[in-house]
């Protein structure tokens, strides 16, 4: 092999890349900017940052003690940003996207809820008007609403000012209830009677009686994100920098392929063909320079992430290098494939970018793959970008050891063999004269 020519061609490619302002922006500035943005959106550099509150409106048509307490409980919830709104306004607020959910507490809510709490009949209906583009938030508001309604209603029924009235009404309804056998009726009436007695003692001796209040959640939770080390907060920047690096390095690979097509067009290819060098020198040097450039991009982008956002390689450094190297080689062969299968730069660029965006999307660069449906999570292992993102995640913030880099590395090198093999197979030496 003509090593002089090989090295000269690699140097040529590196020089062309590093003197091209557009390439520099696309390969270094763009991934850093976009990764920073996505990282900020998905939690930023520290998981301690307060999450965004859900904008919720409450319409209290009942105006009762119970409904006022419910609205107050919702307003005190850390996850919600609650405002009280008149009924005629909330629908347009939700429609305009200013509110995510509006909860309309109906007239007669207190009486109906208290009765339904004891007898499971005539439940009041809280209307939830929601923005359809915020489905996940609706589920969360429903859960919080359930919690606060249960706490407020049970508190009011068992220990509130009107508790006696509700308990007495409940006992009367039990007497008239159809479908309950006598022992069940008696047991329930005794239960309500015991609650009434308990309330009576609490009023006489508040310190000595059981703590006032209704039902409350019988547990608390202690969430802990499992990252590289205990106490190590998840850094949302880590995943976004991995994803965006993958995306923009693939774009660089496309540009490398485009360059070969342009060289075919402008005669440079002829000059190389006329020299006594093999096709392996010509395309191998292109692959080598692309792989080197990809490694430089990864180094710079992750260097920036470390310096500014404290994204560290929490796992194995050799494993990280292996994943980066395998991805770089895969990118280089991807570029070769583009140049070999493409006919003209114009016709090829758009299609190549589309394919890349699909690869990036399926790879989990934009949103983590765990958000995909299960079948898609499995299917996405058929694209090399999934292995790249998973491999980088594993080495960067999951803190896995080098053995966890073997599967992604092997998979990407397998793709590189496939892409490179097809590129060599389909390589056209001739350019029509």
């Amino acid at each position: 092999m003509n090593y002089t020519a090989f090295l000269a061609l690699v140097r040529r490619d590196l020089r062309l890349f590093f003197t091209d302002r557009r390439a520099m922006i696309m390969s270094f500035v763009a991934p850093i900017l976009i990764a920073s943005f996505f990282g900020y959106i998905f939690g930023g550099a520290s998981s301690q940052a307060a999450p965004s509150k859900i904008r919720v409106a409450a319409v209290d048509l009942d105006g009762s003690e119970m409904s006022r307490k419910l609205v107050a409980a919702l307003a005190a919830d850390q996850a919600l940003a609650l405002t009280a709104e008149p009924l005629e306004q909330v629908r347009s607020e939700v429609q305009a996207g200013h509110m995510v959910v509006a909860a309309v507490i109906p007239k007669g809510f207190e009486d109906q809820a208290a009765r339904a709490f004891v007898r499971n009949v005539d439940k009041p209906e809280i209307q939830l008007l929601y923005d359809p583009s915020h489905g996940p938030e609706l589920a969360m508001v429903r859960g919080l609403l359930t919690q606060h309604v249960m706490e407020v209603v049970s508190s009011e029924v068992f220990t509130g000012q009107n508790s006696g009235k509700y308990l007495e009404a409940g006992r009367r309804e039990l007497e008239q209830a159809q479908g309950l056998d006598a022992p069940s009726k008696r047991a329930l009436q005794q239960l309500l009677g015991a609650v009434a007695q308990l309330n009576g003692r609490a009023r006489i001796n508040p310190q000595g009686a059981a703590a006032a209040g209704g039902f409350s959640l019988p547990y608390t939770v202690k969430p802990e994100g499992v990252t590289a080390r205990r106490g190590q907060a998840y850094n949302g920047m880590a995943h976004s920098f991995a994803g965006m690096s993958v995306q923009f390095i693939l774009f660089m690979g496309i540009d490398a392929g485009m360059m070969m097509l342009y060289q075919r067009r402008n005669g440079l290819w002829k000059r190389m063909q006329a020299a006594p060098i093999s096709r392996f020198v010509m395309i191998g040097s292109r692959a080598a320079s692309s792989a080197l450039i990809a490694m430089v991009i990864l180094t710079v982008v992750f260097g920036f992430a470390r310096a500014v956002f404290h994204v560290r390689i929490e796992g194995s450094m050799p494993g990280f290098v292996l994943v980066c190297a395998a991805f770089s080689i895969m990118t280089a062969t991807f570029g070769l494939l583009v140049s070999v299968l493409g006919k003209t730069p114009e016709a090829t660029r758009g299609l190549a970018i589309l394919v890349t965006l699909i690869l990036v999307m399926l790879g989990g660069s934009w949103v983590p793959a765990f958000l995909f449906p299960q079948w898609l999570q499995s299917a996405s292992f058929a694209v090399p970008t999934r292995w790249a993102v998973d491999g980088l995640d594993g080495m960067v913030w999951r803190g896995l050891d080098w053995t966890a880099a073997l599967a992604p590395g092997a998979a990407m090198l397998g793709f590189a063999v496939l892409f490179g093999g097809v590129a060599v197979w389909r390589f056209r030496w001739e350019t029509a004269a």
Partner: protein, 311 residues
């Protein structure tokens, strides 16, 4: 010595080159003439190793040139029709790359680069980006790039397209110096005057076939008695209005080039009155009349019935 033996190339149903053969000896300049699409570039591409011929072979000093890495390819230098240069790199960096393709490096490469820059008249612009060069400067550098490794055979594919007269003369001077040093030149062009100035031997190609292959004098003798009457017409007229002239005695070919009517005739004395009378009778007026002896343009016109530029 370069030999092309029976080169043949087909693209689907189109025969681009059919049985092209010639020999180019040391110190000889061969002109491949023909209109665009005649097969000149395809022929040169097969010689340079850019295209594999369907049939035929290329030999240098009797040895078959075969394969991408054949060292014999290093005996040739190619000047492609396109400006095969990196605009983003300097002239020196371009030359360094092209030298490295032929295995050159170190002091030898640096000397060769300086020589090529000097030859191209670009020594003072050596470190400037090629993008800042004029078309003529790029053409000269294009030529210098092919001479960098001191080839025995230089293949030039329309090297003066779009070049200013000053750069064209500089290129011609370089080629004449190259020939004086005993090197071989294969030069494709559709500019007949270039071929007449530079070439010892002329090969005229049309539709992929060689229709003339001889020394310059020999090709001229193919149409020994032909002269050309050239008239600058006052109006272009409708297409083909002049076809009737071809039916006159002693008229070999008729062609309109821009607004000039060119009539190739065997006998100037007898044919010119007939031509002028034919025009007068039909009311076609001309502002200027000239006659000229057979040149390569005339030869092509006579052999194919078309001028090179209109072919």
């Amino acid at each position: 010595m370069l030999e092309a033996n029976g080169l043949h190339k087909r693209y689907g149903n189109l025969v681009a080159v059919e049985e092209v053969s010639f020999v180019a000896r040391a110190g000889e300049t061969i002109g491949l003439l023909g209109p665009n699409g005649a097969g000149k570039t395809t022929s040169v591409s097969m010689i340079a190793g850019l295209l594999d011929p369907d049939r035929g072979q290329v030999l240098i000093d009797g040895a078959l040139v075969h394969g991408e890495t054949d060292p014999l390819k290093g005996k040739m230098g190619l000047v492609p029709q396109e400006m095969a240069l990196h605009d983003e790199l300097s002239a020196r960096d371009n030359l360094a790359l092209f030298g490295a393709l032929y295995g050159m490096r170190g002091a030898g490469l640096r000397r060769a680069i300086d020589g090529a820059l000097d030859l191209a008249g670009l020594s003072d612009r050596a470190n400037d980006k090629v993008a800042t060069f004029s078309g003529g400067m790029k053409r000269r550098l294009n030529l210098g790039s092919a001479l960098l490794h001191d080839p025995e055979i230089l293949l030039l594919d329309e090297p003066t397209v779009g070049v200013d007269p000053q750069s064209r003369n500089a290129i011609f001077d370089n080629l004449e110096e190259f020939r004086r040093r005993g090197k071989t030149i294969v030069y494709t062009t559709h500019y007949m005057e270039e071929a007449e100035r530079l070439c010892d031997k002329i090969i005229i190609i049309d539709h992929g076939k060689v229709i003339a292959n001889d020394r310059l004098e020999g090709v001229r003798r193919l149409v020994p008695r032909v002269n050309v009457i050239e008239l600058e017409m006052e109006h272009r007229g409708v297409d083909g209005w002049y076809a009737g002239l071809r039916l006159l005695d002693d008229v070999e070919a008729v062609e309109m080039v821009d607004q000039r009517l060119q009539v190739a005739v065997r006998d100037l004395t007898s044919a010119s009155p007939r031509v002028l009378e034919w025009l007068r009778e039909r009311g076609y007026r001309f502002g200027h009349l000239a006659t000229q002896r057979a040149d390569l343009e005339t030869v092509f016109l006579t052999l194919t019935g078309r001028s090179v530029r209109n072919a």
